[in-house]
């Protein structure tokens, strides 16, 4: 067991300190330590989120025997934690594939949570000697990477696709490996969406540093300085595009993500411009510029959230982008020019 991966998350240190079963299979706990939870927060906010992985291989939960069920999952630590904390009082095996620290859904799309890796991992861990049953339970969202026929043919194990959510796994096992349609369906709840927003916000904020740098340079020559109000107006659309739109996704009218982001961005922009008195005389060009620029920023950021959703089809996203991107770029471009004209040439107090 290599130190760098597991010990960062604490979880397998116990195994490393010698809590091995006679077969040398690490036993994992089904409760998360404070450090695991802190790790989750770090990942959610995009701080050092790379390489948050655990060692692939076979793990034991509880006290499994040769007839206990085998659950298959990814070696992304958040996925692993989310799974193991649902397994309390169960005796089972966990076969962790090397997905390069990527969650099941993403890895299945890439093929790392895939047929080949599964067959390899079965061989490497000597699973067929450890268990006598020949059943593997895979997360439902892994099905786009794994061909059950081929796994059966080449490894002798039959694959069952379990549930979408780890929280349904216990029920699935208790019901004799049967999933209700409900358990098989992606929901993408408000909470699901909420936990994904911080990372979008942090990455947008990072990119915004560049914008701030440019504005700082512009200020050196400006007839009207960019100030805290401009910053608030801008920060507002970034929040709108990365947090508010994803949260309110189902209630905002329309379908395309960029449209939804644009709509909320426009509302915010109108409000901000009104609050800051930029609808007054002398600021016409600035107001027009911001009304073109700000909502398109929010539209773009919202469109990027398609990557986090689990229901947007590539064909749909492509169609949305073909229409939205030219509009976003055009509107943002013209808007930026207008804002610069007011700032560099016309000026104005505030």
């Amino acid at each position: 067991m290599s130190k760098d991966c597991c010990c960062s998350g604490e979880l397998d240190c116990s195994a490393e300190r010698g809590e091995f079963r006679e077969t040398n299979i690490p036993v994992v706990s089904t409760t998360l330590s404070a450090r695991d939870i802190f790790g989750v927060l770090k990942v959610r906010f995009g701080i050092g989120r790379m390489d948050y992985k655990i060692e692939p291989g076979l793990y034991a939960v509880g006290n499994p025997d040769d007839n206990s069920p085998v659950l298959v999952s990814a070696n992304y630590k958040l996925t692993f934690d989310a799974l193991r904390k649902e397994l309390s009082s169960l005796d089972c095996w966990l076969l962790i594939l090397d997905t390069k620290g990527v969650n099941v859904w993403c890895a299945a799309g890439k093929g790392t949570f895939g047929t080949e890796e599964l067959i390899n991992r079965i061989e490497k861990t000597g699973l067929s000697e450890i268990v006598t049953n020949r059943k593997l339970i895979l997360p439902q969202l892994g099905a786009s990477g794994v061909n059950f026929n081929e796994v059966a043919r080449r490894s002798g194990f039959s694959v069952m696709f379990g549930t979408v959510r780890a929280s349904d796994i216990k029920q699935f096992i208790a019901d004799g490996f049967k999933a209700t349609p409900e358990m098989r369906t992606v929901k993408f709840t408000t909470r699901d969406r909420f936990v994904l927003t911080p990372v979008e916000l942090v990455s947008a904020a990072k990119n915004s540093l560049f914008v701030l740098g440019v504005l700082f340079l512009v200020n050196l020559f400006a007839a009207r300085q960019f100030g805290v109000y401009d910053f608030i107006a801008y920060a507002g659309v970034v929040l709108t595009g990365t947090v508010l739109t994803p949260l309110l996704l189902p209630v905002i009218p329309g379908k395309a993500f960029s449209w939804k982001g644009w709509l909320l961005g426009l509302l915010w922009s109108i409000f901000a411009l009104w609050r800051f008195g930029w609808f007054a005389q002398g600021f016409g060009i600035l107001a027009a510029g911001y009304l073109l620029l700000l909502p398109s920023v929010s539209a773009y950021l919202a469109m990027n959230f398609t990557g986090s959703s689990t229901y947007t089809s590539p064909s749909g996203v492509l169609k949305e982008m073909r229409i939205a991107l030219p509009l976003i770029i055009g509107s943002a471009g013209v808007g930026a020019i207008l804002v610069l004209i007011q700032t560099l040439i016309i000026g104005g107090a505030i």
Binding site: R49, N149, T189
Partner: protein, 96 residues
């Protein structure tokens, strides 16, 4: 939330002739796209399909076809720039 994205874009097709009604597509689909009528699969919710490819990959008789890929705007943009197929390199993230 009931997912509700663009209509009439999914590339999913089903060859009913070939279908042997094994039910696998219904088992793997995370959006309840399929129903079963007269021991054959039927696409009843095409607009919910997110083109993940799970059904086509696991259909034992290749009765299903879909242009599978990642529905992720930044991945598609990256694909345009690099000239390759869209991939998400959001290592370790929950996205895509």
């Amino acid at each position: 939330m009931k997912p509700n994205y663009l209509k009439n874009v999914a590339t999913l097709t089903l060859d009913t002739e070939k279908c042997v009604g094994c039910g696998k597509c219904g088992e793997v689909c995370p959006h309840g796209v399929f129903d079963f009528v007269n021991d054959k699969a039927l696409i009843t919710q095409r607009d919910l399909c997110m083109e993940c490819g799970a059904c086509a990959l696991n259909c034992p008789v290749n009765a299903l076809e879909v242009n599978a890929g990642v529905g992720c705007a930044s991945a598609i943009i990256k694909g345009w720039f690099t000239g390759g197929a869209p991939t998400c390199d959001c290592s370790g993230s929950e996205c895509c």
